[in-house]
């Protein structure tokens, strides 16, 4: 295994939704350039933790956070951190593919449009970004003649790939995925997993999944969470073959979940 350095680190992270504490004292180092999966039963705080990494939690309602989260060494709760720039670097993909109801082309360049003045965006630059991003997610050959079709008319698998492609022109460091395959069939799931493998290295990928088999085959490291606490974080094969914590062992055996 290659030597990696932490990309995301949290120290003593606590999070409350109003009075309900959803994360308790989470301390974790997520390595650069690999795929890390977050597993655990519903309500264990996986998605909450994921949403912390680009602070998008704050858009969903009242959250209070204590502790520290660093992305590439920078504490994202520092007052000089711009959420807009943070979310450009740390993008998210959702359970249900959520292309915007505009053309494929406009979906891909949406981020560029949001982050640049209109006058700075040249047609050639946008065209190039679209081709590059769609090539990277393996959609270019299928969609190059359908760029001006509505993105919401694509197949689900294509929509999900498009949602990943939408992040790429912004040159993110981290891609967060919140159960990206649970709306997809077997083929779609396989395609997205292959895409994750193709993208790792260049991007740090953190994926929340309900599907233990997926965590097992598609991630390098695995984090098991329970009731808002981080129980175990190890290389995926070690976690599944030789869990240290009895709660992890019971969960991966399917005793609860």
């Amino acid at each position: 295994m290659t030597v990696t350095s932490p990309c995301i680190t949290t120290r003593g992270l606590n999070l409350w939704y109003a009075k309900f504490q959803a994360l308790l004292d989470v301390t974790v180092d997520i390595q650069h350039g690999i795929i890390t999966s977050l597993i655990g039963p519903s309500g264990c705080g996986k998605t909450t933790l994921l949403r912390c990494f680009n602070r998008v939690n704050e858009r969903y309602g009242y959250v209070t956070t204590t502790g520290e989260i660093k992305i590439l060494g920078k504490n994202i709760y520092d007052p000089d951190v711009s959420l807009i720039e943070l979310r450009k670097t740390v993008g998210m993909v959702f359970q249900r593919p959520n292309p915007l109801p505009i053309s494929v082309y406009e979906n891909v360049v949406f981020g560029l449009r949001v982050h640049n003045e209109r006058s700075d965006l040249k047609r050639e630059m946008l065209d190039e970004a679209v081709e590059k991003a769609l090539t990277e997610v393996g959609l270019w050959t299928d969609l190059k003649d359908r760029l001006h079709e509505k993105a919401t008319h694509l197949q689900l698998e294509q929509q999900q790939k498009l949602c990943i492609a939408r992040l790429l022109p912004l040159k993110p460091e981290v891609i967060l995925m919140d159960e990206p395959c649970s709306a997809l069939d077997v083929e779609g799931t396989r395609a997205i997993e292959e895409l994750m493998f193709a993208l790792k290295g260049r991007y740090t990928i953190v994926i929340v999944t309900h599907n233990m088999a997926q965590a097992r085959r598609a991630s390098d490291e695995c984090i098991f969470m329970l009731m808002g606490r981080l129980i175990e974080h190890r290389r995926t094969e070690d976690l599944f073959l030789n869990p240290q914590n009895p709660k992890t062992a019971e969960y991966i055996e399917g005793r609860y979940g």
Partner: protein, 298 residues
């Protein structure tokens, strides 16, 4: 064991009877609503039809309202409605955008939302008194089209806010999530995604207020509408904003209550014109909405 026969038991028969009864009662209620509506419209049209022709629409009332047409009232209503909505729609829509997209949940926003809901239920005569005090007297606009329109605007504002908020809420959260997670600001999210996807609902809400503004009499009778005012027949812009004007709703009221020996068909004809104008606007709203809807699919 006997093979199943699947025949109805007495219990099933009872259920079926209840089912039929329920369907009968419910469809009866629909009829009870629809029939009077059609009866009223038909009655108005039959009674008013003899008077309605082009000249009736585009000439002034004459002979102390007993003859002539309704042009000055028709065009007055258009003035009032258009100005009221020009004022109320932008304020209401933007206000709703703020309340829905920016405002944080707090006792103040809860209070404001409560106020909006309650204002929507305030009787129009109360708005009329407010308009009289605020616009006619305090702001010194006098009895004028402007004062009357502003009063109507105040009356429609809370309804527009409520309907706009509903339209905004109907935009799926996933669209907003898509925006947040590429670092779009709130305004970019609103401008690029939320508004384009809610505009049909917003417009419908606004346009439906046309019928309400056109039909109200109380808010305008103290603030700008008059018994009689002569304008040039068929002139498109006969009034100045500081003028008083006639209005269809007010005209209908005065003709039925204040004018002796008016032709029997006159009030009906006025009502038909008012109704027709409102239906026309509502039909436009429906067409616009279905057009905008056909362009969005999610």
């Amino acid at each position: 064991m006997n093979p199943p026969t699947f025949t109805a038991t007495p219990h099933v028969l009872r259920k079926l009877r209840r089912e039929r009864l329920a369907a009968l009662v419910l469809s009866g209620m629909v009829l009870a609503m629809v029939l009077p509506l059609f009866a009223i419209v038909a009655y108005l049209v039959v009674k008013g039809a003899p008077l309605i022709n082009w000249a009736f629409l585009v000439t002034n009332p004459t002979d102390g309202m007993r003859a002539g047409g309704i042009w000055s009232a028709l065009v007055g209503t258009v003035y009032l409605v258009v100005i009221a909505l020009l004022v109320a729609a932008p304020i209401g829509v933007l206000c709703a955008v703020y309340l829905n997209e920016y405002a944080r949940e707090s006792w103040l926003t809860r209070l404001i939302n409560l106020a909006v809901v309650n204002l929507a239920g305030v009787p129009s005569i109360v708005h009329a008194l407010f308009g009289l005090g605020a616009f006619v007297l305090f702001a010194g606009l006098g009895r004028s089209i402007l004062a009357a329109s502003l009063t109507l605007a105040i009356m429609t504002l809370p309804v527009i806010i409520a309907s706009t908020k509903e339209a905004l809420n109907a935009v799926p959260l996933s669209f907003r999530e898509a925006c947040w997670n590429v670092g779009a600001s709130r305004w970019q999210t609103i401008w690029r995604v939320v508004l384009p996807n809610s505009i049909s609902g917003i417009l419908t809400g606004v346009i439906l207020q046309v019928s309400r503004t056109a039909g109200e009499t109380a808010p305008i009778m103290f603030t700008g509408a008059v018994f009689f005012k002569k304008v040039a027949d068929g002139a498109l812009f006969p009034y100045a904003l500081t003028d008083q004007c006639m209005a269809l709703s007010m005209h209908l009221y005065t003709v039925t209550t204040q004018v002796n020996n008016a032709p029997e068909a006159l009030p009906y004809a006025i009502a038909v014109v008012l109704l027709g104008a409102v239906l026309l606007v509502n039909a436009t709203a429906i067409i616009v909405r279905s057009y905008l809807r056909s362009r969005k699919k999610w």
